[in-house]
Symmetry: C2
Subunit: 243 residues, 2 copies
């Protein structure tokens, strides 16, 4: 009995360490999203460079987290819900790492875009979209710490707002390109930035789904939601890239 | 001793089942890639629809594989290299699942593109690119079964060909768009298809990296390769989305 308690608390201690790393990583990714979009809006090359450099720290945390999770699996051999937590954390880390990459990619495109004519007020719209994804991420991480399935479901639902923002922007870029071919190159970059933010929303959704799974033991049924989003045939919407 | 041998062979048997599932999944993804590109080139809506429907089977295998891997982790509590194999298989399954999604997305865009004017011979170039990625995937899966690090490294190196094909196509789409604004919508779809194939190459690379890790215990050093690929500032190249 005593030994059992000892083993349980050692696992809990390991898990606390891993969770602290996930939260730290989440904080860095939140900053990366917002600063990437802000550097684009304010044409701040220095801030863009900071985001590009900052991705190394996120990658490093992902690596450490995977090593630590593998160590816990090997050492503690968790089962049932403990095992689920460790596997979820590994998936969440992968989602955050990709979000870091996408932010870095936005910052790289910013470095190119500052050399070109601005395209309407699209960078402000992109910054609002990024802010929304950042808020979703914040709530997803909170829902994880509190195992709050309702908050996680709320995050999942908000992803359709991001998809709508993306679709509106896509139509705007198309119009700017048709109006003047000289806008094409800049619009291609801006479109990729919008797509990157939209994909970050999908990664946050995936994190929130993990939380629902951890809290309820079931994955949220999202087949219907996804079908609604995939509206390739309804107009100029290019649809989500992956579903 | 006897019991130990019993445990080891039970793990091996589990692993064999998981590996058979990965190979089956890999075969389905190979077909999906090629058929998606073929349906685009030959304007075959029926084949495109088959690819879209076929993604369900790939998703299902990914789900089963994750459940089976979690079961093995809980039941056998593998350590050291056995643990690494199970975790690698889970990552490979995630890569294959994404490749299935990307193929499905190509098939969806095909359904839209058959309604529009063809853009030069770009669909043939896309099919060649897809064929190359399919070959890379085939070799990556072979290298996994044979734990052949040299073959896996070869796959990793071939990804730069895919990136070059993508860059050439990107410039071509840009030219078509500038020539005639009526080409813009079709080119946006075609460009996303090229990008999807390029990202599939990244997923294959990630599978090959897992193989190198399993075979040698070390991740291939790819920092330099990635820096070369990220040539945002060298011209119209939009660079890889994630690195």
């Amino acid at each position: 009995m005593n030994e059992k308690r000892h083993i349980v608390s050692a696992f809990d201690r390991d898990l606390e360490g891993i969770q602290a790393q996930i939260m730290k990583m989440g904080g860095l990714v939140e900053d990366a999203i917002l600063n990437a979009a802000l550097s684009l809006e304010t044409r701040d090359e220095e801030l863009a460079m900071k985001v590009r450099d900052g991705d190394k720290a996120i990658d490093k945390l992902d690596e450490m987290l995977n090593e630590e999770a593998a160590r816990v699996l090997a050492l503690r051999a968790p089962t049932a819900s403990d095992l689920r937590v460790v596997l979820s954390v590994m998936r969440m880390s992968a989602n955050l790492e990709r979000m870091g990459d996408l932010s870095k990619n936005i910052a790289k495109r910013t470095t190119v875009l500052v050399q070109m004519q601005p395209i309407g007020s699209t960078t402000s719209a992109l910054r609002r979209m990024a802010r929304e994804v950042q808020n979703m991420l914040k709530d997803a991480l909170d829902s994880y710490i509190q195992r709050d399935a309702a908050l996680a479901m709320d995050v999942i639902e908000r992803d359709s707002d991001i998809d709508q923002m993306y679709n509106a922007l896509f139509r705007e870029f198309l119009t700017f390109m048709m109006e003047d071919p000289r806008n094409i190159t800049a619009c291609m970059h801006l479109h990729f930035i919008a797509k990157n933010i939209e994909r970050m929303g999908d990664h946050v959704t995936s994190i929130a789904e993990q939380v629902v799974f951890l809290a309820t033991g079931k994955m949220p049924d999202e087949a219907r939601v996804k079908a609604d989003r995939t509206s390739l045939d309804k107009g100029p919407d290019l649809g989500p890239e992956e579903d």
